[in-house]
Amino acid sequence: MFRKNYPLLTISSEIELPYNYSLGKYGGRLVTELKQNGRIVGIKCPKCDHVYVPPRRVCGRCFIEMDEFVEVSNRGILQSFTVVYFSFLDPETGKKRPVPYGYGRIKLDGADSEFLHFLEESDFKKLKIGVTVEAVYNENRVGSFKDIKYFKKVEDGDPS
């Protein structure tokens, strides 16, 4: 069928596909709280009392609308973590995400769901499930998830 070997080619495209995602009323409230008051709010299910962070409209388990916002702590217990060493294209920026970086699932005091955020520590040997971590805020807060810089380990004796 092919009398000579043609090269196998690929064509590349660098499409930028921009979106404006709505944060909605519930997410918007948390962002505003982060910026103005340096605090984290969740939302409580009227049926099962589960407190979700970030707040959202529906409790999936109960399929019920939630409207009771509750403040949760800036401190919590590290439920799990990883330190990422491989680099990849960050869809947020279109550039390679800097590595290594640590992030974890944190159960904030007063919340039932976990909260995903960066960890100060990026050496996995120094991280341990079950330790207490605390949110460290940026000095200039702009109204963003990243107003919290990261969560850092709370050493014994740190005032809460």
């Binding site: 970030p54 799990s80 973590f81 990883t82 990849f88 294209l89 869809p91 995903l116």
Partner: protein, 386 residues
């Protein structure tokens, strides 16, 4: 369960990290042709097509209409279903319901992916909440790393324990001509391979693969005519419970897989899956998941999976063989991955698995994993279901 439905043919492409010799449509056509050939059918015999993949891996919108030349669906009903990693099993379940509805007799189900055509991690990251999760989330590898870390902490499991899973699957892959990675590895090699996201190393995780799989579902009347030994669908179940990665209940067994398995066992009357199931094709994206998911199959106490693996129970020669095909750790063309589990399970109970055949396999479980820790399960067997 409604009308009886059976798998009467399966086809896979040769899976590689990059299939530059074909475009996506030609890749799909390759798997479709093999499935038709396996069943002894032609395009004319197909009443409807179901296809699935993940859009952002190739950047093609409306894949069902785009691939019509390769999927054989010209002037036929074609539908796309997509649920992330579970896409392949979701496609299979949709193929089943197409026939079970009584509206179609012979249905072609296709899963495919050309992972070489984009940055897989970048594409997967966009599955998470754009505001709350994307900035931190490091894709499938990092998400699975978090689970692995937690499992190690909870049950005192070591990286060495997990490596056994990768070694087993890669050994099995040597017997599967379609597998992508066909080279024996050792526990030591797994342990010293580059750290990707603690505690997951390069040889703990599935590869990125170009490939496609096609499976033909048929009604009882047709199945009896087409196949000597149809692979009957006994049960199907799905649980896609979560929106946020942080909402998953982490206290017990992997919840969606456990729930789906329990539903399937209950409806099929299975009481002792460890002894009643002959083989499992499990969607095992990482070596650690290969332990965590065993707990969720309900075949051992929580945290005991490592014992089954280290005792050789899950080897091809063992009592409860897992992934004789080499599994996902050897081949991972994401939209096809779940469907390959189904195809392999069907091949086992039809006695068509060749070198990696489990002798006398009658009842097989195929699982899918994806999305936000979601699961699909199919129970497939050679005896006709009641």
């Amino acid at each position: 369960m409604g009308r009886r439905v059976a798998i009467v043919g399966t086809g896979q492409t040769y899976h590689k990290s990059s299939r530059k010799d074909v475009n996506g449509v030609e890749l799909i056509q390759e798997a479709t042709s093999r499935a038709l050939e396996d069943a002894g059918l032609t395009r004319k015999d197909i009443d409807a097509v179901v296809i699935g993949n993940m859009d952002h891996f190739e950047g093609i919108n409306y894949v069902d209409t785009w691939s019509v030349d390769g999927n054989g669906g010209l002037y036929k009903p074609v539908m796309k279903v997509t649920t992330g990693g579970t896409t392949g099993t979701t496609v299979a379940i949709a193929g089943y319901y197409h026939v079970a509805s009584g509206l179609f007799d012979t249905v072609l189900a296709i899963g495919w992916e050309k992972n070489s055509e984009s940055d897989t991690t970048a594409a997967i990251i966009t599955c998470s909440d754009p505001y709350w999760e994307r900035p931190t989330f490091g894709g499938a590898v990092a998400g699975l790393a978090g689970t692995a870390c937690e499992y190690m902490y909870k049950y005192g499991i070591t990286e060495r324990d997990a490596a056994l899973v990768a070694v087993r699957d890669r050994k099995n892959a040597l017997k599967n001509p379609y597998a992508h990675l066909r080279k024996q590895i050792t526990v030591e090699e797994v342990l010293v391979s580059p750290m990707l996201a603690y505690p997951i190393k390069l040889l703990d995780i599935c590869p990125r693969t170009d490939g496609a799989c096609a499976v033909i579902f048929a009604s009882e009347d047709k199945a009896k005519k087409i196949a000597d030994k149809p692979a009957w669908i006994h049960q199907v179940s799905s649980r896609h419970n979560y929106t946020f990665l942080t909402d998953i209940e982490r206290s017990g067994r992997m919840p969606t897989l456990y729930e789906a398995c329990m539903e399937v066992y209950k409806n099929a009357g299975i009481r002792d899956p460890l002894h009643e199931l002959d083989v499992v094709e499990m969607y095992t994206p990482s070596s650690f998941a290969g332990l965590v998911w065993i707990d969720a199959l309900g075949v051992c106490d929580e945290g005991e999976a490592v014992r089954l693996v280290s005792d050789g129970v899950t080897e091809m020669s063992g009592e409860f063989p897992i992934n004789p095909s080499g599994g996902v750790i050897s081949t991972n063309c994401i939209g096809a991955t779940g469907l390959i589990r189904v195809a392999e399970a069907a091949m086992q109970v039809s006695g068509k698995a060749g070198e990696h055949q489990i002798e006398g396999a009658k009842l097989a479980l195929a699982t899918g994993f994806g999305g936000c820790f979601w699961s699909d399960v199919l129970l497939i067997g050679s005896p006709r279901p009641n």
